[in-house]
Symmetry: C2
Subunit: 146 residues, 2 copies
DNA sequence: GAATAAATTAGGATTGGTTCCTATTGTAGT
DNA sequence: ACTACAATAGGAACCAATCCTAATTTATTC
């Protein structure tokens, strides 16, 4: 669900982030996608609208947005870090073949806990669940090649 | 639980891995630790016994051991990949401050499933659960500095 | 226990994502 | 408009991981 310019302006204001065209473009693009792009993907996409933008700006902006809690960095064993503007509580389902990421919403998964013993050793802040397997496309492709 | 030289020899034989002193040292060291070292950690440690060993050998060996299913690569948002010779089913608990990794054994966590809808789209192979929080040491340190 | 074929190793070169540095530009508040 | 300060562009630097090659070493066969 893509954020509007006005929504972005308000969110940035609330987080005391200066509003620049580059930032706006990066965040707007991230809110419009659900595929968890890499920094490089983001750079290439935003470059179409802002040809002079530098990779540095992309990295700096992603870092600022992350610190502000507007986006999250996702690390699921992919080669490069991926970014997600969906801050609703969710988990992930990753294709081990094409690396596609699918979001998983499930209240039961949000309520997991570790053993009492571990709870005493750690102050638990949260948890993540990552399912992995073959997406429909890759599964079918596999069958075809047998 | 450190593997003995004899055990390693048998395991390598079973997996059709050639047994070399460097490999043996790398795998033996990994089985003796539970802290999920990085490739660099492994390199520095094994270098003490084999000063001429190259980083390349470490990476090549880790890759071979991983392919053979004797170790696993763990990616929990740390800066670098980490390696684990503990192939028993388990999950992880990570300190967000010092990055320490703690193993979690819990049958209930092994039985999670995604929704029926997702099951139709994906062929699920497995899942991982990662808890994060502050370990006892970092929690106490935090209190001290307040 | 040598000979052979194939895999492993060491070392150096290379890659490529990410970070660092700095002058310039742009933003928000006064 | 003016000011203080943060963001940007561009390039240089960094460094874990990969690639390349020749020399060794391993496991197997005779």
């Amino acid at each position: 669900m893509r954020s509007t310019k006005q929504e972005i302006k308000e969110q940035f204001k609330a987080k005391e982030l200066k509003l620049t065209p580059q930032r706006c473009a990066i965040y707007e693009m991230l809110t419009a996608r659900t595929d968890h792009p890499t920094a490089e993907d983001i750079y290439r996409t935003v470059k179409r609208a802002y040809p002079m933008i530098s990779q540095n700006t992309v990295y700096y902006t992603l870092s600022a947005l992350k610190k502000a809690g507007l986006i999250s960095e996702v690390n699921l064993g992919h080669e490069h870090a991926r970014f997600d503007a969906n801050m609703d509580r969710h988990h992930h389902l990753v294709c081990v073949s094409c690396q596609e990421i699918n979001d998983v919403y499930d209240e039961a998964l949000n309520r997991l806990s570790v053993s009492a013993a571990k709870e005493r050793q750690y102050t638990i802040l949260g948890h993540r669940v990552e399912f992995f397997g073959y997406c429909k496309r890759c599964r079918d492709k596999g069958k075809a090649s047998l």
